[in-house]
């Protein structure tokens, strides 16, 4: 015991005269730190209802509740947080693909009613809704990589000299990495016309089971390698990751999986069931819609024959889409599986009125998927001149090995995928190519990547350029005359702005060929006029019920001549619907 040790502690009394540094009462509490993890907020306009927050929450504090009708790319759901469960870990915020979810820096909320501590941020109004502070998603920390694994392409200057595929495709490691980015929200499924099981096959690729991925893919798409290369990819447009980052490369992943297997039969089971046993079905047109109907009807035990007037199946994906995008071996592989499934394939055979009538007699059902084979005319002076050709015919002739001649300079009129394909094909045939399009570039219906690729390959694009006439040139060749256009506002909301010719100005372009690619329409004349009028309207477009049945009993239709979207996956979706329709018909017959 020492006196010092008895006295020293009492020196603490001195501190009784210093200012306290504790706060006197709760009311004077300071606000939470700028990145405090407080009560949730949600920018509901930005939120797409993907539910990734609910998935990651290990406390199951989040329920996705319906606040609106679902639309393309928005599930109509919003997260409701239950603070009886939440631990404020903010994983939900850090994972939120759209970065709509956040947390305010508010941490005091007193209420006698326990039920209020469960609310839908952004929908149920709260005092902190506008809070600028609090925990937000940060650019430096990611629960998934927002950037896509880049797809290697052949060098543009090299590739125009060859027919090699422009897109090289993912290597295994790249595909796994890309697939791992997917948050598995499934918004894409509703956007895909065929409702492919996208998250499932992406998960299979991620987990290293490519065979399983291909099996899942084949569940509702018998031309996946084609879709994996050229699909319009509606799915990617609604990908929740795409809201803030780069959408998952769904198309390239499908491509990767299917390209892994040369012999599809080694992965896909083509055993036929007996649902359609004893029934025959004829399919006219080997495009994606007919192909799809044929494949799944065959698997259901129908005896199916598919007819096409061209030497190969595939329709526009064979005769239209150039091989540097969709090479023949990829197509042949898919056709092989169709054959393995027991479909009788008759190519180089055009079905005419008489045979059509006979098929209708003999078969349970006849499917019409003859696509859009009639190109629209330019409606300008000189279009009948030698050297003015249709893109559709140009592409087709090239693909069925008929001689094509483009000369040195070509103008392609139009702005859709057909125009781009024709111009890139002409580039590969050695021509200088210019595209002339009526509207602005953003209005071009062609895929933006395609436009970019074409430009990289040296295709020049004139926009707001209206064709006036085509003239012959002295000493051979043609002159394409066009006038500039100004853009007028759209007539109806949602429509594209209209181009209006600026009178009095003319531009002239000397060319060897004018390739017209301003669209195509159906042509049912092969059925015979009477049948054609019964099946379709005056211009050949066909309306069907939800199962693809036309107004004529036993005749089903699908693909481009039914749906105005006119892309391959919509045609496939039509094929799937028709399978259901024909199965129903078979069952009805059996009763």
């Amino acid at each position: 015991m020492s006196l010092k040790h008895i006295i020293t502690p009492f020196s603490a009394w001195v501190r009784a005269f210093t200012k306290p540094y504790t706060v006197p009462e709760a009311k004077t509490m300071r606000p939470g730190a700028p990145r405090y993890r407080g009560w949730h907020i949600n920018d509901t306009d930005r939120c797409v209802g993907c539910g990734t927050c609910a998935d990651i929450c290990q406390n199951e504090a989040i329920d996705m509740v319906r606040v609106d009708e679902p639309v393309n790319g928005d599930a109509g759901l919003r997260p409701r947080v239950d603070y009886g469960r939440c631990c404020w870990c903010a994983l939900c915020v850090d994972v939120c693909p759209s970065a709509s979810l956040g947390m305010s820096n508010e941490y005091v909320w007193v209420d006698g009613d326990a039920d209020v501590f469960r609310y839908t941020p952004g929908v149920d109004e709260k005092p902190w809704d506008e809070s600028a502070l609090g925990w937000r998603k940060d650019e430096g920390f990611h629960l998934f990589d927002p950037d896509r694994v880049p797809m290697p392409h052949l060098d543009p200057l090299e590739r125009v000299k060859t027919w090699a595929e422009v897109v090289i495709g993912y290597a295994e490691e790249e595909a796994r990495r890309e697939a791992a980015r997917c948050v598995q929200c499934g918004l894409c499924i509703a956007a895909c016309p065929a409702r492919m099981h996208i998250p499932d096959y992406i998960a299979a690729i991620r987990d290293g089971d490519d065979a399983e991925a291909v099996r899942i893919i084949y569940d509702n798409n018998p031309m996946p390698e084609m879709c994996g290369k050229v699909c319009t990819r509606n799915c990617e447009k609604v990908c929740s990751i795409g809201v803030k980052g780069e959408a998952i490369a769904i198309r390239w992943l499908k491509r990767y999986a299917t390209e892994r297997f040369d012999d599809l039969k080694s992965v896909i089971d083509v055993t036929r069931s007996d649902v359609g046993k004893g029934h025959t079905v004829a399919i006219v047109g080997g495009g994606p819609s007919g192909f799809t109907a044929a494949y799944y009807l065959a698997l259901r035990g129908f005896s199916v024959t598919i007819y096409d007037e061209l030497p190969r199946l595939g329709g526009a994906t064979f005769f239209g889409i150039p091989k540097y995008r969709f090479p023949l071996p990829s197509l042949d592989k898919q056709v092989q599986l169709l054959e393995d499934a027991g479909v009788r394939i008759i190519t180089d055979h055009r079905v005419e009125a008489e045979e059509f009538a006979r098929l209708r007699e003999e078969c349970l059902a006849v499917f019409v998927g003859t696509g859009l084979m009639k190109p629209y005319r330019l409606g300008a002076h000189g279009e009948e001149l030698d050297g003015v050709i249709f893109a559709l015919e140009f592409l087709r002739d090239y693909h069925i090995d008929r001689p094509v001649e483009v000369g040195e300079k070509v103008v392609v009129v139009g702005g859709g995928n057909v125009a781009i394909d024709a111009s890139r094909l002409a580039r590969r045939l050695g021509a200088d190519v210019t595209i002339s399009y009526r509207r602005r570039e953003v209005d071009m219906p062609a895929d933006e990547e395609e436009i970019e690729d074409a430009r990289a390959e040296g295709v020049e694009i004139f926009t707001q350029s209206i064709p006036l006439r085509v003239e012959t040139r002295e000493g051979g060749g043609l002159t394409y005359v066009w006038g500039p256009a100004e853009m007028l506002p759209a007539e109806e909301p949602g429509k594209r702005p209209r181009p209006q010719l600026i009178e009095g100005v003319e531009h002239r372009l000397d060319v060897d060929r004018v390739i017209v690619a301003i669209g195509q329409g159906p042509d049912l004349s092969w059925m015979g006029d009477e049948t054609a009028h019964a099946v379709g309207d005056k211009r050949g477009w066909i309306s069907t019920d939800e199962f693809g049945a036309t107004a004529v009993d036993g005749v089903f239709a699908g693909g481009d001549l039914v749906n105005p979207v006119a892309d391959a996956i919509s045609a496939i979706a039509d094929g799937l619907r028709v399978v259901e329709g024909i199965v129903k018909r078979a069952k009805a017959k059996q009763k």
Partner: protein, 375 residues
Amino acid sequence: MSNDYDVTKETHLWFGPQHPGVTGNMSVELWLKGDTIQRGITHVGYLHRGFEKLMERRTFIQSFPIVCRICVPEPDTNEYLLAKGLEQLGGIYDDVPEKARWIRTLTLEMARLAATLMVLGGQVGSMGLGPVPQWMMTLRDYVLDSFEELSGHRIYHMYIVYGGVRRDLPEGFEGRLEKTLQTIEERLPWIDRLMFENDVFRKRAIGIGYVPPEWVDEMSLSGPIVRAMGIPRDVRKDYPYEVYPELDFDVITEEGSDMFARARVRRREIAQSINLIRQMLADMPKDGPFCLKLPSLMHWRIPKGQTYVRAEASRGEFGYFVVTDGTDKVRRVNVRGPSYVHGVSLLERMLPGTNISDLSSLMVSLQTCPPEIER
């Protein structure tokens, strides 16, 4: 202290779980003669939430917010060890960015500081001295302010994550943290006066709660308990991790192996943490990423493997034994917290002969923390 009176009757007494003198939700069942403990059994289980088991059913990222709860006063060690274990097994540990390593170490040292402030306050608090624990809790709260700024929360930081840390240091953080360090430093002499120069504390701590050095290896003791025996054992030096090798410090030891010596170690480690934090704030890289970019933490799969990782928490060695099996969840995590040894085995061994009035301060001195016993 010896008995003043002789009692032949044995008293059976429960100390806790609802007793302010117990360090958390546990209890000690005692048999006493007079006020001398004859023997005792520790009872845990009041706090069992099965963290280890929960992790087996959650993806790696979902396990991340769980582990902080294994230690309320000092959660960061748990976050760090789970992250390090999984990073090692997942083959990404070497890719963790440099800046993240500095911030991680900073966080770990801030956590040691905050926890040590609390336990040192509790040490005299358990003996009935009011001002020191109040000051200490206030000072700890200042450190927690920094944690709030850095991680978004005061207690459960959920900050050290696979690949690095979750956020960069906020603007001006260094300056504000330095201010807190100064506030703590300014108060330390007062603590010396009230605690170490206080006869009440000295009488009740010197020679009390003696732990024989032979028990160290026999029982796997660690932390201030060992260092108070003069043994320089510290994971930060013995198995250096993150940026500790780049920092200048010595292992702090004291002689005596009693409550007083342990309190001295802690008192000096407060100063040491302050010094280390200063070194880190000065030397830390200012730019660069603070977290590794992985394709996906949501679907992370880790190949089959097992590892044991360790770190020095304020209480001693924390270890994580992590087993993965190629899926997106751990196969098994075993948390080796120092309290299991100190608060159960060692405490029970020390109980016979202890005066009941020293039990509370003994438990503080051993720094028992039930949530970590009951992972």
